[in-house]
C-alpha cells in the first residue's frame, strides 16, 4: 500500500470511529438511564439491561467502533489515535446537552474546547512514527 493510500485509509477509519463512538455512548446512556433497576455487581441485571433496544443498539455501535479502532491502530500510533479521537468527547458533551438535556456548564464547554484544540495539535503530527504499520505484512 502506498503511503498516500495508507494515510487516506487512516483518516477514513478515523472519521468512522469519531462518529460511531459518541452515537453508541448516547444510545447506551439513553437505555441505561431509562432502565428501572440499578446496575450493580449482579450479572443478571446486566443481562437484562443488554436486552434493552437502546442499550443493544449502543453496544452494536460501540462494537463496530472497536473493530474500526483496531483497524486504525494497525495504521497509526496509539499516541496519535488517542487525542485525535478525543473529538468524540466534544460530541458526547453536545449530545448530552441536546438529547439528554444535561446541564453543561461554561467550564465543561471550555474543557471540551481544550480537548478540541489538543486533538488538532496532535492531528497535525504524522500518524505512524514507529514504521511498524508500513513494515508489517
Amino acid at each position: 500500500m502506498t503511503s498516500r493510500a495508507m494515510r487516506l485509509r487512516t483518516y477514513a477509519l478515523l472519521c468512522l470511529v469519531i462518529f460511531l463512538q459518541p452515537l453508541g455512548n448516547l444510545s447506551l446512556a439513553w437505555g441505561t438511564k431509562h432502565f428501572p433497576q440499578v446496575l450493580s455487581v449482579d450479572p443478571l441485571v446486566y443481562l437484562r439491561v443488554i436486552a434493552d433496544p437502546f442499550v443493544a443498539l449502543g453496544i452494536g455501535m460501540l462494537a463496530l467502533a472497536l473493530l474500526t479502532r483496531l483497524a486504525l491502530l494497525s495504521l497509526a500510533d496509539l499516541t496519535f489515535v488517542l487525542p485525535v479521537t478525543a473529538i468524540g468527547y466534544v460530541l458526547a458533551a453536545l449530545f448530552g446537552a441536546v438529547f439528554l438535556h444535561e446541564a453543561v456548564s461554561a467550564q465543561r464547554w471550555l474543557g471540551t474546547v481544550l480537548i478540541f484544540l489538543g486533538t488538532g495539535v496532535v492531528g497535525s503530527t504524522p500518524p505512524d512514527t514507529t514504521g511498524h504499520a508500513k513494515g508489517a505484512r
Binding site: N25, L67, L82, P83, A86, G88, E102, G118, V122, H132
Partner: protein
C-alpha cells in the same frame, strides 16, 4: 464510588489499548470493508494479546456502564479520558512511539480539558 469506578475504567482501558496497539502493528494494515472485517475478526480470534485486550475492555465497559447510570454522560465520557496521560507515557516507554513536543502539547491540552470537565 464514582472515583473507584473511574479508576477501574482508566486502568483497564490503558492496558487494553497498549495490548491492541502493540498487536495490531504486528498484524499489518487492516480495513473494515466486507473482506477486511473478516480478516480483522480472524486476527482478533487468533492473537492472545488481542483476546486479553478484549477482556480488559469488557472490565472497563461494565465499570463504565455503572458509572454512566449514576453520573451525567457529559461527566462520565470525558473523565474517562484521564487514561490519556497514562497511555501516552506507556506508549513512549513500552511501544517506543516518538512522542514529540507537539504530541505532548496536544496531550496536555486534552488533560487540561479533562480536568475542567471532571471538576
Amino acid at each position: 464510588m464514582k472515583w473507584i469506578l473511574l479508576s477501574i475504567v482508566v486502568a483497564a482501558t490503558a492496558m487494553s489499548d497498549l495490548l491492541q496497539s502493540h498487536e495490531m502493528k504486528r498484524a499489518g494494515p487492516q480495513s473494515v470493508g466486507a473482506r477486511g472485517l473478516a480478516r480483522l475478526l480472524k486476527a482478533v480470534a487468533t492473537r492472545w494479546k488481542l483476546i486479553l485486550s478484549i477482556v480488559c475492555l469488557a472490565i472497563s465497559f461494565f465499570a463504565f456502564m455503572a458509572l454512566l447510570q449514576a453520573e451525567p454522560l457529559s461527566f462520565a465520557v470525558p473523565a474517562s479520558a484521564a487514561s490519556f496521560i497514562l497511555e501516552t507515557v506507556l506508549a513512549k516507554l513500552v511501544l517506543k512511539e516518538q512522542v514529540g513536543a507537539r504530541r505532548v502539547a496536544g496531550a496536555l491540552l486534552v488533560l487540561g480539558g479533562v480536568i475542567l470537565l471532571s471538576r
